[in-house]
Symmetry: C2
Subunit: 159 residues, 2 copies
């Protein structure tokens, strides 16, 4: 399984068009990169295994209801992983510098979540290209579930 995973990831990386072309790595201000995902129970279980985070909010309906939710919720940090995933799929090799996260609404298993990443600052300093992105997750079209910002180094002129 390990070898299959490595092969799969190897294919994903190859198909991500990793390029040394700096021009291609500069995002346009205002362009919004979007990705939609439904987090399943299997995702919650797999994320708990790799993060070792077995907060009963994610596995025990009664605990989730005691906390004011209608059911078990998806780990916030798993939902937030959509941001570096979107950024790195568009800008392979991007390095994360900071991320702020405000968890405003719960994400329930099975809900369709749309993550939006929008460059709000792009600048070049010496040989590095920096970008700051507004990062948001929405459900049902317009309910903000996670808000925040990410700053990244997108490219290096060292070819």
């Amino acid at each position: 399984m390990m070898m299959n995973s490595m092969r799969l990831l190897s294919r994903l990386i190859s198909s991500a068009k990793f390029s040394s072309n700096v021009e291609a790595k500069t995002p346009k201000i205002d362009d919004i990169l979007r990705q939609t995902r439904v987090f399943t129970n299997a995702d919650v279980v797999e994320y708990s295994k790799v993060s070792h985070d077995s907060n009963p909010l994610h596995f025990d309906t009664q605990c989730a209801q005691n906390a004011g939710f209608r059911d078990r919720i998806v780990h916030g940090m798993l939902v937030a992983s959509l941001f570096p995933q979107i950024i790195s799929s568009h800008f392979p090799g991007a390095v994360y510098r900071t991320q702020t996260l405000v968890f405003k609404q719960p994400v329930y298993i099975g809900e369709e979540i749309t993550a939006e990443v929008q460059a709000i600052v792009v600048r070049k300093s010496k040989e590095r290209h920096y970008a700051i992105f507004s990062t948001r997750c929405l459900k049902d079209g317009d309910i903000l579930v996670i808000d925040g910002e990410a700053s990244t180094i997108l490219a290096y002129d060292n070819n």
Copy 2:
């Protein structure tokens, strides 16, 4: 395998001593909760599978070196998952409200990382107990790799 995972998690949750005792859920200011973990290549592969984040920084040594690192790095958001993991293992049912993350140094596969979580503000408002934690990851004892803060709701007086 899915059923085994669920049984494992069920045991973990049972052993987490989920309690409705509010007193037990209030952290002491200045107490530092610590956890040490070494992230393996298998962790990076599993995290990539569940997050769909296959940034070549984590799989392609040349890409990592082009970005100025000496080797492939662990996903920052995987390392940062130590914070909710520590908080929820001490305060089962804790709800994350915000997290700030500054990724200051790379984490390489195989490095021993110590996460530290320290309550800096604890307050009770209506039926909820809030806490703000300083959240840091260190390597080699004193090299700060991730800095930030988390704010949480730790307990509900609705028993």
